[in-house]
Structure formats: structure tokens, C-alpha cells
């Protein structure tokens, strides 16, 4: 068949149906959404007080007080905490070598939130910019943008039928004062009890970290400098090093004790939380995390 004839047949088909084609393309629709714009997630809010262990993930939020978009990332993460509650532990990481985290000599942005440990983590996993977050260090430490977290978190915590995925480990943290709890310079003893719930292959490490809430200091938020911004979940120090220590998971239960001497970086020990997590030393993926607020008066 001649090419021109084929084309003519094709053109005739299109030409004769041009109104149908335009009508089809014009059948365009819009979804107008009315408030509320968010939906609740049934049974998403885990209960760590329950006897049955729940899977808990760690979000390492990379942020900076001069990063004007970072509060938006933080707000997304706060929404995640509201949704997934005890399933989520957050550490706000302020690495060195970044314009957005450097402190001023004076003024509302003079607080130095930076730590060498968060810098090492940033460098290890190829930090690319603010705001971003590591989520259980999955995908060998992929940095996600905050808006990408929701879907990923849901997939980590719930199966296809929306049933909670059970954890491989249970981590229990207890905090006790070595001597007089009123004297804050006295060592605080942190005990981490790890109970193995499933058989695990490979090498695993336990890392224990101190974070601090309610630090009031400056923060750019959009175009505005908020002088009394409340910084929460701030990564303050690593109790057993940036990368933690190897643990022997041939035993069903492991207990570790650490002394916490009030480090200089911490403003107020009563606003601090002990965060512990266990990760696969080969894939870097965190398999379980836990947190415990340091409550000195609980020890009295």
C-alpha cells in the first residue's frame, strides 16, 4: 500500500473524529478539597507502655537555625509524631561545615547546636542539603526530603493490610541517678536492655545518644527571624560514640550500663532524653529505636 494512501486514511480518521478527540481531551476534572486537609491514621499511634513491643523508627532530621525552610520540615515531622506517636523517635541534627548551622558571635542565633557526631553522620551518608532526614538509615542512608517521609514511614511500620509490623528487638531504657539526683553534676546511669524477639543474622551495633528539648533560641522561619523559637529533639552528644558498639545477639537479652556525666553542651539535663537504637553494621539500617526522658524527680 502506498504511504500517501495510509496517511490519507489516518488523516481522515482523525479529521472525522476531531470533535470526539477534543471532547475526550476536554473532559478534564478537578478535585476541590475542603478542610480538614489531613486524615487520621487509625491505629497508627503506637503505645510503648503496652506490654507488647512495637516497632519504633528513628528519624534523623538535618536542620539548621539559619535555614528558612527547615521549620517547614520540622512541622511535617511534628505531624508525623502526632500521627505515629510512640512509633517514632526524632533526633534533630545540626552538622558542622554548613552555612545554615553556624552560630553568630552574639544575638538570637548565637547558640551552637552543632556536634561532631552529626557531622560524621552527614558525611558518611552523603548529606546534600536542608531540610532533609535519614529514616532508619534505610537504602544505605538515603536522605529524604521531609514530605517524602510519610509514605516511607507507613511502609516501614505497617504491612499491606495495614497491620503493624512487629519489631525484631525490644529496647528498654531506664535512667537512674548514681548518687543524689538533685545534684545534676552527679553521674546519671542509663541502662539499656535489649531483648531479641526474632532471630537475626549479621553484625549489629547499639548506639546511645542524648537529645534535648525546649531550647529557646533564634530560628529563621520563612522570611522571619523567630528569636524565641523552641528547638526540640536536638542531638547533643553520643554516649558510646557516633557509631555505637557491637552487641552480641546470640544472647536473648543484653543489658548495657552507661554513665552520663552532664556534658557541657547540655543546657538543662531535665529536658534531656536518652535515645537508643540498634542497626545492622553492614546495611546501616536501624531495626529498632527507643527513647526515655530523663526525669530526675522520678528517681527520688
Amino acid at each position: 500500500m502506498d504511504l500517501v494512501l495510509i496517511l490519507q486514511v489516518l488523516f481522515d480518521m482523525i479529521k472525522n473524529n476531531i470533535y470526539i478527540i477534543f471532547f475526550f481531551l476536554f473532559s478534564l476534572s478537578c478535585d476541590k478539597i475542603s478542610a480538614p486537609f489531613t486524615e487520621g491514621c487509625l491505629n497508627c499511634c503506637g503505645d510503648s507502655e503496652n506490654q507488647k513491643p512495637i516497632k519504633t523508627i528513628l528519624i534523623e532530621e538535618f536542620t539548621g537555625h539559619k535555614c528558612s525552610n527547615c521549620p517547614n520540615g520540622t512541622r511535617i515531622i511534628e505531624n508525623i509524631i502526632d500521627t505515629y506517636c510512640d512509633h517514632v523517635v526524632v533526633l534533630a541534627c545540626h552538622p558542622f561545615n554548613q552555612d545554615f548551622t553556624s552560630p553568630n558571635e552574639s544575638g538570637p542565633l548565637a547558640t551552637d547546636f552543632r556536634t561532631t557526631q552529626t557531622t560524621e553522620i552527614a558525611e558518611e551518608f552523603g548529606f546534600w542539603g536542608f531540610p532533609s532526614a535519614l529514616l532508619n538509615r534505610i537504602n544505605n542512608g538515603e536522605f529524604f526530603q521531609p514530605f517524602e517521609l510519610n509514605t516511607e514511614i507507613h511502609n516501614l511500620l505497617f504491612d499491606e493490610n495495614n497491620n503493624p509490623i512487629p519489631p525484631d528487638l525490644d529496647i528498654k531504657i531506664s535512667v537512674s541517678s548514681g548518687s543524689d539526683p538533685i545534684i545534676t553534676s552527679a553521674p546519671i546511669v542509663t541502662s539499656i536492655e535489649i531483648e531479641k524477639l526474632n532471630e537475626l543474622n549479621g553484625e549489629y551495633k547499639l548506639a546511645v545518644v542524648v537529645s534535648e528539648d525546649f531550647i529557646v533560641s533564634g530560628q529563621y522561619d520563612g522570611n522571619e527571624l523567630i528569636e524565641d523559637y523552641e528547638h526540640n529533639h536536638v542531638y547533643r552528644s553520643a554516649i558510646n560514640g557516633t557509631w555505637g558498639e557491637l552487641i552480641d545477639l546470640t544472647e536473648k537479652t543484653i543489658v548495657k550500663h552507661y554513665d552520663l556525666i552532664n556534658p557541657n553542651e547540655i543546657n538543662d539535663i531535665s529536658n534531656c532524653t536518652i535515645v537508643a537504637y540498634v542497626y545492622n553494621n553492614e546495611t546501616n539500617e536501624i531495626i529498632q529505636a527507643a527513647k526515655k526522658k530523663i526525669d530526675l524527680f522520678e528517681q527520688l
Binding site: 496517511l7 488523516f11 476536554f26 478534564l28 478535585d31 478539597i33 480538614p36 522570611n223
Partner: protein, 543 residues
Amino acid sequence: MKKLFIFTLTLFFYSNIESQNNLSFSGDLQISGQTFQEDSSIGAEKREPNLNSYLNLYLGYKDYLKIGTRLELYKNPIPGFEEYEGEGIAHKFIQFQKWNLDVTIGNFYDQFGSGVLFRSYFDPNLGVDNSVNGARIKYRLSSGIDLMAIIGKQRNYWEQGEGVIKGFDAQIYLNDYIFKKSETTISLGGSFVTKYQKDNDPFFILPENVGAWSGRMNISKGRWNFESEYAYKINDPSFTNNYIYKNGNSLILSGSYSKKGLGLVLSGKRVDNMNFRSDRDATLQQLNINFLTSLNKQQSYSLATIYPYVTQPNGEIGIQFDCFYKIPKKSSLGGKYGTELNLNFSNCFTINKTNPSDSELIEQPGTLGYESNFLEFGNDKLFQEINIGIKKKINKKLKLHTTYINVFNNDKILKAQKVLEGEEHEKIFSNIFILESEYKIKSRYTVKSEIQHLQTKQHFGNWGMGLIEANLKNFFFSIQDLYNYGNPISPTHYYSITTGFIKNSHRVELRYGKVRAGLFCVGGICREVPASNGFSINITSSF
């Protein structure tokens, strides 16, 4: 699609045997390569040499059938282009044009009106290629009525975006029907575009179909011309607008008057939450469906490009006034050849934004975001620029062009400039003086020089620039030095030597030198360029 493409190619070659005279073949080629050596004085890192190149090939049959493809190759692309790494066929299409009908299947570039709802285009220097892969139908219903419909997915580096876009545009030239004898010509246009993307978010209730419409009008009479376009977009929570549910809108107005030796243009625009992408999670230059016109002068002088304005799709309001006047020849001020004067003024402000309710913050995710009074300006001026240019032909051989530019760039809000360690973004005020001369030795032999100075007390301080360029028939040669002598840490030279050859539609350029880190912008769309030091080669050719 691939099978259809191969089928059509086969038909082409089958046809080729019978009627070679009906075939036409054309194309164009660009090859760019660069080496990168470490240079701590400008913060340049050592990298593997890179190569960016593409080849467009077009095959036409008579005047109504055309197929085309583009092969691309990116080896070790610079930061910001990493996702282009690789090679392959990035663009392919089959186009039929006959009987008032124009059908394209495959990748295509096009736009509705000014592009405020839909514009797909290719700019390899910016790393922009948001071509639509699908189908486009254009149909001239009758004289003066043009219709266009599109459907497809957009290119996202080597993949396609998740969202499907559909659009329809109509353009009507009223004088073909009414006011036939009127000296006033009027045309009206309207567009509708939707995108579809599945809602997989467990937290936000996201609209899967986001629609937008626009209306436009163009009236011209004699030396006067008036253009306007208004666009509206329904709730489109996305990463770029911080997941707010406010509707978006945009208005562009422009009036102009022109006659021999005089041109006046006054334009204004307001943009409110009009970032429109086919993937709500896309960032940077990814998957933009629309294009927001920039209302400020497009600078080409090197120091005038240091503090460019970056279009703010989440909200901006501004004006531009441009005036061109040529003082007539043989007048006392115009001299023997006349004198050209150009004045350009532009500015941009934030738009007014107030809390949608007492309990919600402005731009809080999962809320309406903010309310905005359409006519009220925001509290902050983002950008302002005044350009005054005088161009004078002194004699048959010598031309002079002098320019003064006053720039205010609110980098405290725009945060587009790189800052020194420990420093903060700040408001930048600068004055730029430029003197350009061109001396014609003989036909196709010219020597050009530029002296530029940028004065500012902020950011990296003062700059100077000197350039000498010689065009000797088919060869060109230039030496340039940008000197940041006001740099608060250490004064820095950015020198370069360039040479090359032009023959017909073929051009080869070799360059050695340093490139400052900064923003490269075209029409308000910008990308960051890292500092570099090394050799580069650029070859362009069309056939």
C-alpha cells in the same frame, strides 16, 4: 509508541526507494566538554572531565510528515545535572500536518498563551527539558479559530514524571468574524489544564486532579498594543508551596506604544501560589507545567548577571517600564548618526499574606496556607533594577555603548546567593558601570572592549571586569578578567582566554579559565553554577 516509531521509520525508508526527492533531512549538534582542576582560591574542586552533548535529527516527507529524534550524552555532569548522567534517545516524535490539522505523537514542546498554564521547552544550559511525551492535536476550525489539545507525561531526566497532564487551548481572532473593517484588532484566548497524580499520602488528603484555567486578550490599534492574561489554579498542595491548599492565581498586564525611534512598554504582574508541576513532590527545575514570565531586563553583561532576580512562583508582584528613544540623526544631541537611549525600570515585592485563622501559621502544611489581598503589596521589596543605556556611533568605525545599572537584591529573603562561612544572607545594593566599545577595522574585522565595575558594600564587595575581543573574519579571540577585589577574605581573579572559529552554521570554541560560583539565569529561571577552573570546548553545528 516505540513500535509506531519504528513502523513509521520503515515506511519512510520504503517510501524513500520510490520517491527520494520528497525526503528532506536536517539536524543540529552541540558538544560541550570541560576539565576541572582544583583551585582553592575560588573554591573549585577537582572533578573528572565532563561531556554534555546532543544531536537532533529530523527527517521530512513532502511538507506534511516529519519525524525527529534527539540523542543525548551526559558524562560526569556538574552538580545540579547529576541525574542526567547517561546516554540515549531523549526525544522522539512523529508529526503530521495537513488539512488544517497538525498531529504530533511522541515528545513535543509548546505553550498556551504566555505559558502561565502550560509551557514545555528545552534549555540544556539550564538543565530544563520538560517536554511532554504523549499526543498533541492542533486544528484550525475555520479562519481565525485555532484549537489545541495535549495529553501526556513530562520528561524527568531519563524517566517520565508520575503525573498525567491534559490541556486544551483556543485562540480566536475576532476581526475574522466581527469588527471586520475596524482598525482595532482583538484576539481572545482561553486554556484549561489538568494534571492527574495518585494520592498515596497516608497523612494529607491530596487532590488527584488539579485543574487550572486562564483567559487572555490582546487588543491593538495603530501604535498601541494591550495584552492581558489571568490564570487561576485550584488547590495544589505540593513540596514547593509547603503543602498548602490555597488556590493560586496570576495576572499579567502589558501596554505598549511604538513608532519610529520611540518605544514604550509598561507591564505589571501578580503571582500568587502558581507553581504548577506534574509531580507534587518535584523540586528545582523538575516537571514544571507552566512558566511564569519574568518582568525584568535580561542582562548579558557579566557583572550585571551577578545579582539576578529569581522568579518567585509562591508570590510576587511587580512592574516593569521600558523606554527606547533614538535622538534623530543630524540633531544637536543626536549627532551625525543619532543616539540611542534606553531606560528600564523594574521591581518586585512580596505579596500580602495573612494567617488563614488564629490557630494556623502562614504557610503551615495541611492548611489553606494564607489569605491574600489581591491589591495589597507585601512588606518586603524583593528586587529593583534601574538600567540607563546610551549607545552612540561616533564615526563609521567606532561605536560606544555605556550603561549604568542600579540594583537592589533582597537576598535576605531570596537566599539565592552563596554566602561566606559564618555570614548571613543580606540585602544587597549595587551600582554597575559599563563602557563598551566596538571598533570596525574593515568588513568582518572588529575589535571590541568592555570595562565594567560593580560597587557594593555587601556580599563579596566590589568587582571589576575587563574584556578585549577580536573578531577576524571567521576567527574570534578574547581575554577577560573578572576581579573581585572587594572580597572580604581575599581578592580573587577570574581570568579566561577564549578562541574559536565560525564557518556558516558551524562554530567551535575553546576556552581556558576560571568560572565564579553563582547563579545562571534565563528569564527568571536559574540554576547554581559551581566554581571551576579548566579547559572547555563547545561545538555547535546545524545541517
